[in-house]
């Protein structure tokens, strides 16, 4: 049995050292395929996910190290903008959470909810021109972390109209260069030899 146990420990050590956990997502997104091999940055990234049913989700990391408390300050800032005061306990909890998709008014309820109840609350961030909360989130994120990059993670079957609105909001917030999250799919491009 000893060789087997040795092998187990070897593998265990390997996985423990190389692991980077799959980020917890609020929604399952089936990204389109492309040949791009560029790797997504793992820090200073704000991700806007668009689900199959055209709901918009937002996620942001805590910046280059967690002492910056970007998420906490972001929620505080956006709350202030909409006249909502979040207690410290909620701000602290929000810092550890990941993507969300709901109007600002529902966030407090979402933070306090049980894990099993959370999925039902994801109704999408409003992106209409009258109530453009996504724009506020993006603007505040840029103020707090000027090095932030944007990634749009859209479902292949989402409507382009929704994606276009998201693109427009990004451009309006001076994020002209951004990333589209895709799945790698190698394709051969062969030119005919005859003209």
């Amino acid at each position: 049995m000893t060789p087997m146990v040795d092998l187990f420990f070897l593998l265990l050590t390997f996985f423990m050292l190389t692991t980077s956990f799959k980020p917890q997502e609020a929604v399952q997104v089936d990204t389109p395929k492309s040949i791009s091999e560029k790797v997504s940055p793992d820090k200073n990234l704000l991700t806007i996910a668009i689900s199959k049913d055209n709901k918009v989700f937002f996620n942001i990391d805590n910046g280059k190290d967690s002492t910056q408390h970007i998420r906490r300050r972001l929620l505080q800032g956006v709350g202030k903008f909409y006249g909502i005061k979040f207690p410290d306990k909620q701000l602290l909890k929000f810092e550890q959470m990941s993507s969300f998709g709901m109007p600002v008014a529902n966030i407090s309820e979402w933070i306090n909810a049980e894990n099993t109840q959370r999925d039902k609350m994801q109704i999408g961030i409003p992106i209409d021109s009258l109530n453009n909360q996504l724009s506020v989130w993006i603007r505040m994120s840029r103020e707090l972390n000027p090095a932030i990059e944007a990634a749009v993670k859209g479902d292949a079957t989402a409507d382009y109209n929704t994606a276009k609105k998201v693109f427009d909001i990004l451009v309006a917030n001076n994020l002209m260069r951004f990333n589209l999250t895709t799945t790698l799919n190698k394709v051969e491009a062969k030119l005919d030899t005859k003209k």
Partner: protein, 212 residues
Amino acid sequence: MAEIIKEEGGKKGGKRRPKKHSTHIDMTPMVDLACLLLTFFMLTTAFSKPKVMEIVLPDKTPVDPINAPKVDEKKTINIILDANDKVYWYDGAAKKAPYPALNASNFSKDGIRKMLLNRNRDLFLKIEKYNKDVLAGKVVPPRDTIAKRILAIKRADKSGGLMVLIKAADKVKYGNIVDALDEIAICNIPRYAIVDLTTQEKAMLEIARQTK
């Protein structure tokens, strides 16, 4: 969990043997735990980092029409995306009736890619040759500047200077736009833009839908 097997009744007379202490450690719980942790880490590890495609969109500030960038009609290809994964394309610009007919195509190997590759022939060959030279070791680029070199080749290209306009009708899926952008990346098209449909093109699209 170390169980010590004691020698039984040592005082039965006779020779006194040296005490044999065989220590045997039961490893099963440890192995169980190791196995459990191993499974956990194997399942939760995200090995492949997500891949991204970079896209640059133009600023929304209005440009005055005189200084607006002009696009040569002859070097322009319009790709029109329609609902249900339909793709059409036509050359140049449609200004007045009779409108040019739209060519129906698709996202397969022999669809729009073949057309774009043929149009972008010279530039594509140039970049392909550069890539081959790099692989063969004829050209040694400083690290991670290959992409920049290719960009420079694209910019310096005077022969074709192809411009592809991607236009999406209503009800187009987001995946189709990414497919179209992907085709542009595959064919090394130097310039592209995502623009809205013009009124003429809407009429053309209507005709193409009926004549399918």
